[in-house]
Symmetry: C2
Subunit: 702 residues, 2 copies
């Protein structure tokens, strides 16, 4: 955006400056970098140099009028047409907070910024600012404050940025981590998810974020895909309900001190539009095969139900029926804009406009990629590529891209910003600490952790265990590990409680002895620790074996040489337990000690022998911070297992897909019957009575 020293006809007026100066004197820069002084009164916004208030700055004006006024002003500015175009391009490209702050070291807390970097970033890429880093909170609010203040005070039009981060299952900069979406979905409890999402939004809002890249509304119909854990399961209806719950929780309310026309405090981002969850061969970003029926019956349903009022939607990397989603007129324009009337900001996923050239091969040049993405309905380009939208000013000037597309696109982004009240107050809150990692959030999380756990099998009512038993063996590589799933940042697991610690805490005042033995690593075939595990089982009243899959945090997940079995880009050709885990389960079961297996995983594990042979099986999809405690509570009946499977379990990778809501005629035989015995189907839970761990021992029906 143009720096303020250019001589435009609209400038921020003296009223603004006077207020600014007076409050600055009283407040100053706090030690935390938070600018309380920036939260001044609603009416004291930038006026024209003649003292009048531009309509787009008028918090009481209608949002459509404000959008129109800003677009109109643009066309009457004393700018060269090329300057106008640069100004426009600016709206559609994502910048990055690391342009003016060093975000490389997650522990660095230096509160300094690079002025040149700031100005360069804001010159071309200030439509939205990526700020999804693990960093000390003070540093984040400082960085966001610096950026927004520059835009508000040092640019002619004073248009704030949307500030973006991740919030798939918790605000990722050391906010509270919740179960992975597949676990949230297992609760089948949409109202609870609304409350959860609200806390995630609150943690982000206080720090100055205005957009979270969640929820994911892909359907888990291809289980080899690594991102199964990011979805709410296989079912369009459950996904619709949970998606809407999440959007409602994130968006409901209004930022402090903003226009009454604002309709949300943080923009949710429904992704990935659309059909991304069924890539060919389970390979991340591969094509999705399908026609109109599956599109409308399955893939579009959750977006239509949950996202028409979401302030942002993100396109999928993949193609659907051969057309890349990022430039798919049918999806982005015909359906989303024209049929559904969607009004807001549609962003690409990272680098995916460039994929039109490299992956999809539908363009040879960046100009082509920018043109077809814009003209087919993509509002904004996320970073991660070569910023193809920077080519648009020249293309518009030479007539190869129509200005009308630009107008429509800019409007969608402005609508999102006006709807967030960002023109009135784009700043972090001085008291942001009071809403981060609160006890109330932790209590709510505790409830969700309990409700996310699914009892898959319970032979002879071996569960719940009594606290009158002498001992349990806690065995397996998931026993003393915090497995959060993907979309958490560096060292997030340090905030979590492992099952071992959870059982210790739960049994603290009992006489139950915990005999812990890891038995094996998640990723190794080494069985040398089996004897210790077998011994632990033999000397215990019951053995709990915790096995499963694992993702890594975002940094490690993409680091060559690290390993994982789930998470973004970690696709599988086999869904059985890896390494020595399955032999470990068999070895413990063979001891004769009653054996309870807990799958801690991001997707179904296909070792049906386990369900058929051990005494009880519990599914805990990747939990949040209190998952280790919740599993202990479930095992000992302190709470009743009430979760249900949001995905069906195949017997093996060769019997996929197994989603329950197949088209009539498509299961001439059950895939589970190609080999003997059945599968566990969507919605499964063991319905027998369990006992609450409570003062009285009356059975309570789940």
């Amino acid at each position: 955006m143009m720096a303020r020293d250019r001589k435009w006809s609209i400038l921020l007026g003296p009223v603004f400056s006077a207020v600014w100066l007076s409050t600055l004197a009283g407040a100053g820069l706090s030690p935390l970098g938070v600018r309380d002084d920036l939260h001044f009164s609603l009416e004291a916004r930038g006026m024209n140099i003649d003292g009048s208030l531009p309509i787009y700055k008028d918090p009481n004006a209608d949002i459509e009028d404000r959008c129109a006024a800003l677009l109109w002003n643009r066309s009457t500015l004393s700018l060269s047409s090329h300057e106008v175009l640069i100004f426009e391009a600016n709206f559609r490209i994502q910048g990055d907070i690391d342009g003016w702050m060093n975000m490389t070291d997650p522990l660095d807390d230096t509160l300094t910024y690079n002025q040149t970097g700031l100005e360069q970033m804001m010159e071309y890429k200030s439509g939205a600012i990526w700020a999804g880093y693990l960093a000390p909170w003070d540093k984040i609010v400082y960085a966001i404050t610096v950026g927004q203040q520059y835009l508000m005070e040092n640019t002619t039009l004073g248009i704030p940025a949307i500030v973006q981060s991740e919030g798939l299952h918790g605000f990722t900069d050391n906010g509270t981590t919740w179960p992975s979406p597949i676990g949230l979905a297992a609760s089948f409890n949409a109202p609870l998810l609304t409350e959860a999402a609200s806390t995630i939004s609150t943690e982000a809002e206080g720090l100055g974020y205005s957009q979270l890249f969640a929820p994911v509304l892909d359907l888990s119909r291809e289980l080899r895909w690594g991102r199964v854990e990011e979805n709410y399961g296989e079912d369009p209806f459950l996904t619709s309900q949970m998606g809407r719950a999440y959007v409602t929780g994130v968006q409901s309310g209004r930022r402090r001190n903003v226009s009454s026309t604002a309709i949300a405090r943080v923009a949710a981002t429904c992704k990935h539009f659309t059909a991304y969850g069924s890539p060919q061969g389970g390979l991340n970003i591969a094509q999705v095969s399908g026609g109109q029926r599956e599109l409308h019956t399955y893939y579009l349903k959750p977006f239509h139900y949950a996202c028409v009022d979401a302030l942002s939607i993100m396109t999928a990397y993949a193609s659907y029926d051969g057309i890349p989603n990022v430039a798919n007129t049918h999806l982005l324009t015909d359906i989303l804009r024209n049929e559904w009337g969607y009004q807001y900001f549609v962003t690409s996923d990272a680098g995916s406009v460039d994929l039109l050239i490299t992956l999809h091969g539908v363009c040879a040049t960046r100009e082509c990629a920018a043109k077809i993405a814009l003209e087919h309905g993509l509002s904004g380009e996320m970073g991660g590529g070569t910023y193809t939208y920077l080519t648009l000013p020249d293309q518009i000037q030479n007539g190869t891209v129509g200005i009308s597309y630009v107008d429509e696109t800019v409007k969608t982004i402005l609508r999102t910003k006006f709807s967030l009240g960002l023109f009135e107050n784009p700043y972090p809150y001085p008291d942001y600490r009071s809403t981060l990692r609160t006890q109330a959030t932790r209590d709510l999380l505790h409830q969700m952790e309990r409700e996310a756990i699914i009892l898959l099998e319970n032979r002879n009512s071996v569960l719940p265990l009594s606290t009158n038993i002498s001992s349990i063996a806690l065995i397996g590589p998931q026993s003393d590990r915090v497995s959060f799933g993907d979309y958490v940042f560096y060292n997030a697991s340090l905030n979590g409680i492992s099952p071992l610690d959870g059982f210790k805490e739960f049994l603290e005042n009992s006489s139950v002895q915990i005999n812990f033995a890891e038995g094996c690593k998640l990723w190794s075939n080494d069985e040398s620790e089996f004897p210790a595990a077998i011994a632990a089982a033999k000397k215990s009243d019951v053995a709990i074996v915790m096995v499963g899959t694992w993702s890594l945090d975002q940094t490690l997940l993409w680091t060559p040489g690290t390993n994982a079995t789930t998470g973004e880009h970690v696709d599988l050709s086999d869904l059985d337990l890896v390494g020595a885990q399955f032999p470990l389960v068999q070895a413990i079961q063979a001891t004769g000690t009653p054996t309870i297996v807990v799958f801690v995983s991001g997707k179904p594990v296909t070792n049906p022998w386990i369900q058929e042979n051990v005494d009880a099986v519990i599914q805990q999809f990747y939990p949040g911070e209190l998952g280790g405690l919740a599993i202990a509570e479930i095992v000992f009946g302190a709470t009743n297992p009430s979760g249900r499977l949001p995905v069906s379990f195949p017997r093996s990778v060769g019997t996929t897909p197994v989603f329950y809501n197949y088209l009539k005629g498509s299961r001439p035989v059950s895939p589970g019957e190609i080999t003997p015995n059945g599968t566990l189907i969507f919605g499964h839970q063991v319905k027998e009575l369990l006992f609450y761990y409570s003062l009285n021992a009356e059975p309570v029906n789940a």
Copy 2:
């Protein structure tokens, strides 16, 4: 069709009768049941009672004029409208030769028929007659003669039936059996396939058949599906070429003593229209997911290239994008009729109109099923269901089905019959034996058997073997077995030569000792015969281990309690060798004797260890009668292996699909690289030099 004693205004005239009587006196019923007397001169066809020749009986008239005349005659006949409708319905339903002959016992040779059964069958179901039985040839020609003569001489209009059988890879009533289509495709030799198909057609033609249900133009893109062996592989281009070659071979020429306007002697039937080869989960008849791009890029290509001049097309059981193919206007009317201008008979697959009710659930009644199939473009209904087309007369009379659909439908069937010359001569040939199982056909088969074999691996040029070696061990459950694949009838394999017999024959005049040991059964885990096999390998210069999959003949394939790993409705959840076969290969390889593995199978086998560890690997997709000899010739270099893979080999079922011609962007990684090492891709063959087994030992480049 109406019996002749009804008083219609058109009757077969005296000229016909006179000719008939005079020739009958001279020829009589031959001992074989063949009626040479029925092959009278072209001009002596039925005339009107006034001596004039009805246009539709005029062999010199244009086919369109003949169709029009017959339809016009219908509407001016002195029939009640309901009688007309019954007459019409008759055209669109498949009858069965077992209506008047007892076809239960394949060895029964009694030449008697049931007159009541004949009349009942011809009353309502004489559009086409299913005669695809294993039976003595004399009995077949007798049955067909009786049926056609009844239609020609005892019905008013004298419209002959199309007589149908199977001919997927050989005429199924004891004709010569060729390699399964996947093997034919491996030859990559379309001209040779044309010759092969011509011999298949000739065998059927002489017996009085006028339609064969082949070729199958489905694409093998879902390898779990049991019918992979019936296709020409994964590639639309190769499938197009081979499909056209087959259609050309089957159809080219003209039946004896027929109109010069006839364009084919036997109708090929392109099936299954369309996209049938990619059922969800690999489950036979399950839905196919896809949109317009895949439809036009993959699935329609072979039909468009090979079938616009084929005299019949068969619909698929499955749905595409949710719409059952049997009632899919877009496919059957918009594309096939309107866009491609297809003129001929479109038949359902067996029982598949009923599946609109039971499988697809789109209709509650037979009336609904008949209506939507007819109105959406299906000409004729095959048996196997409840003959829903019998409801059409009432529906047309009460106005719920439009008569215009009937007219269009009848025309397509008449066009096929006129184009075959059936109105002039629908009868078996007296000398049919001279064209069945000839030496010329056998010589051609021998060439095809050789060209169908693919060398997958040849370490240290272990192949070809020299006949100067002392001994070979011939091991494995495919060594002394004839594996023909599906779509052969009862006991067909008795016509084939097993590899053991083939090696014996080939080595007859050499000093090479054959040490045979089966090692294990195809379907058992029993390893008790391993020691004998290991001993055979140890005492031999080289070990040849023949393993793979198996289909059963059509009778056994559908008999409960029999087992198979490939063939129609035998879908798999795992593509590895079953039973003790893979351990057998490992045990033989471990002896240190150079080991050659031969896969005899109907689809790729996914034990990549074999390709990586043994000395040579040969793929022989289910061969024909001379496959056992051809494999010996290849192993000893009497002929060069020139086959190429028509399907790609995945490493495991979890790495499917692996077809080579994927959409750009759909293989962000190779599926083979999810686990280490690559796969064998479409077109693969080992290109190194091998030696012809010939007088000179000069290498000849393949």
